[in-house]
Symmetry: C2
Subunit: 208 residues, 2 copies
């Protein structure tokens, strides 16, 4: 067989396989007709939990949909790329960044609990507010893990008061099993390789 004939045959084989694949995929996708406000959780020790949530936030902004964001732990870098960009869309973005920083930075449990409680009050307002199509509760899992907020209170609110068409995205390692159970979409970001191990620090645009 010449090389050309071999290529033709391979292309023809590919076409049949691709057609079958497409038919199977179309059949599956035809059953996916519902729209629903999702409870989304990004957890795991890998990088990308907040980044992926921001990707969805910016997709919403691209479509002109208003979003609400509560950052439950302040980044050590206050001047983040996301905050800069989000602030250029004041009509679409409601942003609440907790002023108190992270527990092992502040070393003050009472102040952390007060800040978490204030953040959760803002989160509830944003979730109830019909204007927001998506609400991001960044690093809420950390706050829940340290018991700075009552897990049952959070779960009960999400179950009973989240409007049916609203997306809520919750990020942070160590998501509580009860939250995973309630969620519609859960992704675990798994660390395969991280440059911190090679002595590389967090970099502008990558980590913040």
């Amino acid at each position: 067989m010449t090389e050309l004939a071999h290529d033709d045959e391979e292309n023809a084989r590919h076409k049949i396989k691709a057609a079958k694949h497409k038919a199977a995929k179309d059949k599956i996708m035809a059953t996916k007709v519902g729209e629903k406000g999702l409870l989304i959780v990004h957890t795991g020790t890998g990088k990308g939990k907040t980044s992926a949530a921001l990707g969805m936030v910016f997709r919403h902004i691209g479509h002109g949909y208003p979003v609400g964001i509560v950052q439950f732990t302040k980044s050590p870098e206050w001047d983040t790329g996301e905050a800069r960009l989000l602030k250029t869309f004041p009509d679409l973005v409601t942003l609440h960044i907790m002023g108190e920083g992270f527990t092992w930075i502040t070393q003050d449990r009472e102040r952390d609990i007060a800040a978490a409680t204030a953040g959760w009050e803002r989160a509830k307002e944003m979730i109830r507010d019909d204007r927001h199509r998506l609400v991001l509760l960044d690093e809420l899992n950390i706050v829940l893990r340290y018991d700075y907020l009552d897990l049952n209170e959070v779960l009960t609110f999400l179950r009973d008061e989240k409007p049916a068409d609203k997306h809520v995205v919750i990020t942070g390692r160590n998501a509580k099993p009860e939250l995973i159970e309630m969620a519609d979409l859960v992704t675990e970001m798994t660390l395969i390789k991280h440059p911190f191990r090679a002595g590389i620090k967090g970099q502008k645009g990558i980590e913040f």
Copy 2:
């Protein structure tokens, strides 16, 4: 012991623990001094690979850093939120969206290879161009998996021609082991739960 005294004691205990935690973390972070253009891979079957890459893209835009993007597989939805938003930053964003769609949509292997090759040529230009601080090669893993591009050619280029201070982010399932080996930062997005299984379709702002 009164409840108040108990709270005081718990807070004091927390303070000591948090101080130790902070000291340990500071010590580790003090060793992270390097800056380096990273080769980043997002793979796995979970959601969030492209979203997390977009999060980094928008962080860069927030900092005013130019970025280049090649989308190697066209989304079934051409009118994505990310494309809409990216196009509002023409000074910062160079965007190349492959016009040919996905293999099981086009069912034409030769056309797919031509489109992949054209995309890779643009990718090389963007990576060589000093202006871009980050280049996103979205779904390049899929193209490599179908052997539409030569893996060795891609790896050799990344090894020999990627400028030392440039970040390159590659997304898509089934990343080649040789690429993972070469990368600095690899995250696997693991599917824990997906609403497609409950009959929910891809939604605006979430999937596109």
